[in-house]
Symmetry: C2
Subunit: 217 residues, 2 copies
DNA sequence: ACTTCAGAACTAGACCGTCCAGTTCTCATC
DNA sequence: GATGAGAACTGGACGGTCTAGTTCTGAAGT
């Protein structure tokens, strides 16, 4: 029937447009006020839609919240997940690690993703499944991808990590831990700029290579 | 007048006992339900006290919440903050780092402290000052203490860290990042046991010494 | 006698979800 | 291109529920 069953509707029908408007307004509202603090009337008003339409599209406040979080994690997932070319020499390895760290930091250290993380953490007891999905699609996936790469580099003698998962975990958190955990509690007021991200990434690579490189950088 | 202005009342008067009962009940309730989800009627009932008494002792829901969080952070602060004897040889250094990491993990990785952290993170926009206090009395203080120690060890030639703050930050998160961030999103269902904590601590020390030790472990 | 508190009712307001009458859009058919 | 049926939407009101905070009465303790 309809040929335009597009997954990413550029010019969608009225219903779909309203649905997207509600989702956008709900995202803003939940990020700002939290789950209990968010107001369905306000979401409807902000999206220029009646409450009836909100409930027709999403059924309940819970369902809307779940949709907001999963759609945001999915979008972030796409931006992070691009297979990088693996290095084949010591110099290429160092550059590869730095680029990976810098890109990961650049994508993740944004006010919206930090606020999403706060939101989900605060609702762990109410929505444990959502939090688990965020963990699996975030840190866990990053560490799995890294572990695969590190395992192959170990096989080629470019790294010395008998347990690639451990090395991947340590590299991941050497890069992400300080900025993320600082942002969690100190707010988005002083998120690190690009220069600071590069400093963090560089020292993380140095420490990592000292521990898992062939003969120290 | 009253001679018994004890800071830590072992056997306090009725008023003080009721105050403590309210504080205990409020702590449980806020940890379980969050700020907006907590119910003042329930807190009064759980502490065997009338709402009038609750409001006489703590003024408002906000004030009670602030008191709950600050008293918990203060208590945790006391348990973490004991000056350790600094090492004076390479072997003592390794043992010192391991003991420090293991103790830090043991104290922090408890369901109540993890839940407190989730609670405060979820309320960052409503109570930014509380979150800042938690950060300063938690990770920040730990890193400052470590930086001081590392600076002296660098002076004695036991470490090679021209920037002790950077080394302290990296050691702290090598130890804490994986367990804490996993617990934040995956819940308290599978908090690491002592054996796992020792594995994490040991590998953290190894990586740290490879990067900041004098000639590798 | 005098303070203190329990217990319960009460105020004032917020909010989720529903309902309905009237309007607007979409799209197949003519 | 006009038309008409049916789906989608609006705007507002509203029921029922919940909650923070106040107030009142009576009892208990000192």
């Amino acid at each position: 029937m309809a040929v335009e069953e597009d997954a990413v509707p550029v010019e969608a029908g009225r219903s779909e447009r309203k649905r997207q408007a509600v989702l956008a307004a709900a995202t803003e509202t939940f990020l700002k006020a939290g789950y209990l603090g968010a107001n369905m009337d306000e979401i409807a008003a902000m999206s220029g839609v009646s409450k009836q339409t909100v409930y027709k599209n999403f059924g309940s406040k819970e369902a809307l919240f779940i949709e907001v979080v999963t759609s945001m994690t999915g979008a972030a997932d796409l931006r992070v997940h691009t297979a990088p070319a693996e290095p084949d020499s010591a110099e290429a390895l160092e550059q590869f690690l730095f680029d990976y760290a810098h890109r990961q930091l650049s994508v993740v250290m944004t006010p919206r993703l930090m606020q999403l993380r706060r939101l989900v953490i605060g609702e762990v007891s109410r929505f444990p499944d959502l939090a688990q999905v965020l963990y699996e699609r975030g840190p866990q996936r990053a560490m799995q991808v890294l572990a695969g790469i590190f395992g192959r580099l170990d096989g080629r003698g470019l790294l010395a990590c008998p347990e690639p998962e451990v090395a991947a975990t340590n590299f991941n958190w050497l890069v992400m831990a300080e900025p993320v955990n600082r942002a969690m509690l100190m707010g988005d007021g002083e998120l690190p700029d690009d220069a600071q991200l590069r400093v963090v990434a560089k020292e993380a690579v140095r420490v990592f290579l000292a521990a898992y490189g062939r003969q120290g950088s």
